[in-house]
């Protein structure tokens, strides 16, 4: 079967600046292809070359097996539609007039619009939730509404191939999802190639992704194949954490928000549990402290966060009482620390040792949040004793920073 779009060793430049280099791609009919890549990698240029806005220096674009340059403009417009990121409308047309412009390649120069044309436009407005705007001026509707109107116009064009240049990036999340769902429903009857900025939307909606960098395709395949931590960090120079979306099974990405491990200087030891320490670790690292932690249970999310952030921590197996060896390890860390912070945590008989170590430690101790006593009063008694020895209860993380920042 002939691929619906194929780019063959395409090279495109703006003046002397070569934007696409030897790019080849075959798109099968009915796919929803997402193109990702950093700014300036040539995504939009690629789309513009596909739709014949730009002529290639070398190579060719074939649409349904025919060189795109050989098409008559109207004929191409009946096959290929495009929605761009922004469209500036010069004159105050009504929304319906704009949508009906989608019929332009289908009707004769002087022919009036038929019933069929009007009902196609109405249907497109209904699907994009813009029918109620039909008689408003395009200059009077909001940015999001305008973009939906332009999508309705492109649906009215009834193309077999739809090119999208980040058409939803200015929309609210609800409209982004609505529009992209709508576009996905159009497949596999039509083929969609879209440029995306948002990894997660692309991952969920597209069945194939293309990662571009420096005017070339660096990866192509299913979202799971393309969206890997290594590939993203190579192309975007940023570490993203790649997880599996719990409800869709598709990869989703969040920035790692990497902080440099504390470069020495002031040392702070954090005693926490049940996830009460992660935010504090990150904050302390951001402020340049060298952070240590423990004792933590291995299944505690604080232990995972400490490991991911490269924090030195004393860790015990889950549900075990803090062992003598661990206490010794922690005593060592506390002895070297310039301050100790106890982040409010549940205290039971198992981790009571975390607090008792502090009794004979010679460092300032801060309590951030209350420790809940599950040790039959022993924890409360320890806290009171520490307070008596000069431990300070701080009201917030900001308060803590004010006190310990040199």
């Amino acid at each position: 079967m002939t691929p619906v779009i194929s780019a063959e060793q395409l090279s495109v430049s703006y003046g002397d600046h070569k934007v696409l280099r030897d790019l080849s791609l075959v798109v099968e009919e009915g796919r929803f292809i997402g193109i990702l890549g950093p700014n300036g990698c040539g995504k939009t240029t690629f789309l513009r070359a596909l739709s014949r806005i730009l002529a290639p220096d070398a190579g060719a674009v074939l649409i349904e097996g025919l060189d795109v340059a050989a098409y008559d403009t109207r004929e191409l417009a009946r096959i290929l539609g495009c929605v761009r990121q922004e469209t500036d409308v010069a004159f105050p047309f009504t929304v319906r007039e704009i949508v009906l412009m989608g019929r332009h390649p289908h009707i004769g120069r002087l022919a009036p619009l038929g019933e069929a044309d009007l009902s196609i436009a109405d249907e497109a407005m209904r699907r994009t939730n813009t029918l109620h705007l039909a008689d408003k001026l395009i200059t009077e509707v909001s940015g999001g509404e305008r973009q939906r109107v332009l999508i309705a116009r492109t649906l009215t064009q009834q193309p077999k191939i739809l090119l999208l240049d980040e058409p939803t990036s200015h929309l609210d999340i609800n409209h982004q999802l609505e529009i992209l769902s709508l576009i996905r429903e159009l497949t596999p009857k039509i083929t969609v190639v879209g440029v995306f900025h948002d990894f997660n939307l692309a991952s969920y909606f597209c069945d194939r992704l293309i990662l571009m960098s420096g005017g070339q395709i660096v990866a192509a395949g299913t979202p799971a194949e393309v969206l890997t931590e290594e590939r993203i960090s190579e192309s975007f120079s940023v570490r993203m954490l790649v997880h599996m979306h719990p409800l869709t099974g598709k990869p989703y990405l969040v920035p790692a928000y990497d902080v440099a491990a504390g470069a020495g200087g002031v040392r702070v030891h954090v005693i926490s549990g049940g996830g009460s320490g992660s935010e504090l670790y990150h904050l302390l690292l951001l402020h340049g402290f060298r952070v240590t932690a423990g004792v933590l249970a291995a299944n505690d999310s604080d232990a995972a966060a400490a490991a991911a952030l490269g924090i030195e921590a004393v860790v015990e197996p889950p549900f075990a009482a803090v062992s003598a060896a661990a206490v010794e390890g922690m005593r060592g860390l506390v002895a070297e620390a310039d301050a100790v912070v106890v982040a409010g945590m549940p205290v039971g008989l198992g981790n009571l040792a975390n607090l008792s170590v502090l009794k004979d430690a010679d460092v300032p101790v801060y309590f951030l949040g209350r420790c809940e006593d599950y040790a039959g009063g022993a924890a409360d008694a320890l806290c009171a004793e520490l307070a008596g020895d000069g431990a300070v209860a701080v009201v917030s993380a900001a308060d803590l920073m004010r006190r310990i920042l040199p």
């Binding site: 500036d88 010069a90 105050p92 047309f93 007039e97 412009m101 332009h104 064009q157």
Partner: protein, 315 residues
């Protein structure tokens, strides 16, 4: 929004026809429809006043259409038929005829100047077979300035014919005869060619790339419309000189009344242009001293334009 596209066209047509009758009957000789039985009055009416009215109608149709096409093409409501050097080219041609040929071939040279300057602007803007409207606009300004410098030189050395050049530059219908009217019949014919592209002009309001995506061959459309518009403007200039503001203000006002759809806007602008010029010329010839009609159109047009600008920032 007071858009009444369905009503506007018949109303304008009625006004147009009525204005032709009424303005033909107004003049310094106090002639009226009820007593044109004598041969002298018939001669005055058919050989002086009617050709003059017909000239105003044809030039008005042309300036309305060309202004409309230029504003659509440049996607800018501030564009006018003279934007790409047509008026300065025409004026230069006319001044040349007045200074060096004693006024001989004036219409021909004015037409040649107007169209040649447009072609020149187009060629200057051409890059790899494409023309960017921004470049067109800027080269239009540059060429106009250059031609104006030449024109100033001609005026400087023109001596006694300076007044004639000035009068011509401001535009008027005082020496329009039937042969001019016959030449002017090319204007409505060319306007039909513009009308054929009215839907393409609509789509081009979305921008050229969008228009290409919707099946408009933008380069061809620009080339044809520029050529036809400069042809129309060239003829208008050769008949009546450089009458200002009609091609700018008329499409502007009509867009408010009819909306931007060129299938309605274009005929509306043509008829309104004709009506305005007929009445402006009537005023020009009935005032105590005959003054160039261009002075009247600008005198009325500029304040009105300012009013429009203040009323709505975006038209």
């Amino acid at each position: 929004m007071l858009r009444r596209p369905v009503l506007i066209l018949p109303v304008l047509l009625l006004l147009l026809i009525e204005s032709i009758f009424v303005t033909t009957c107004i003049g310094v000789s106090g002639l009226s429809l009820w007593n044109f039985d004598t041969a002298m009055i018939q001669k005055l009416l058919f050989e002086v006043r009617l050709p003059r009215v017909c000239g105003a109608v044809l030039v008005g149709l042309g300036l309305g259409a060309a202004g409309c096409a230029m504003q659509g093409l440049f996607r800018n409501p501030m564009a006018d038929p003279y934007i790409i050097g047509t008026s300065s080219g025409g004026a230069l041609g006319a001044a040349f005829a007045i200074v060096f040929l004693g006024g001989l071939f004036l219409p021909v040279l004015a037409f040649a100047g107007a169209t040649l300057s447009t072609v020149m602007v187009y060629i200057i803007s051409l890059r790899h077979g494409r023309v960017a409207v921004e470049t067109l606009l800027l080269s239009g300004i540059a060429v106009s300035l250059f031609l104006s410098a030449l024109l100033s030189f001609f005026m400087y050395i023109s001596g006694n014919s300076l007044h004639q050049i000035m009068f011509w530059m401001m535009g008027g219908f005082w020496n329009v005869y039937w042969d001019d009217v016959i030449l002017g019949l090319l204007i409505p014919a060319a306007c039909v060619a513009v009308f054929v592209f009215s839907r393409d002009l609509n789509v081009m309001a979305l921008g050229e790339e969008e228009a290409v995506h919707l099946g408009v061959n933008t380069e061809k459309t620009k080339r044809i419309l520029l050529l036809v518009s400069s042809f129309i403007t060239g003829i208008a200039v050769s008949i009546a000189g450089c009458i200002g503001f009609v091609g700018l203000i008329i499409p502007h006002i009509m867009r408010i009344l009819t909306g931007p759809d060129h299938r309605v806007l274009l005929p509306a602008s043509m008829m309104a242009g004709a009506i305005l010029l007929m009445w402006a010329d009537t005023a020009a010839r009935t005032l105590p001293v005959e003054i160039p009609v261009g002075i009247i159109t600008v005198f009325l047009g500029a304040p009105f334009f300012i009013y429009l600008l203040r009323r709505r920032t975006q038209v």
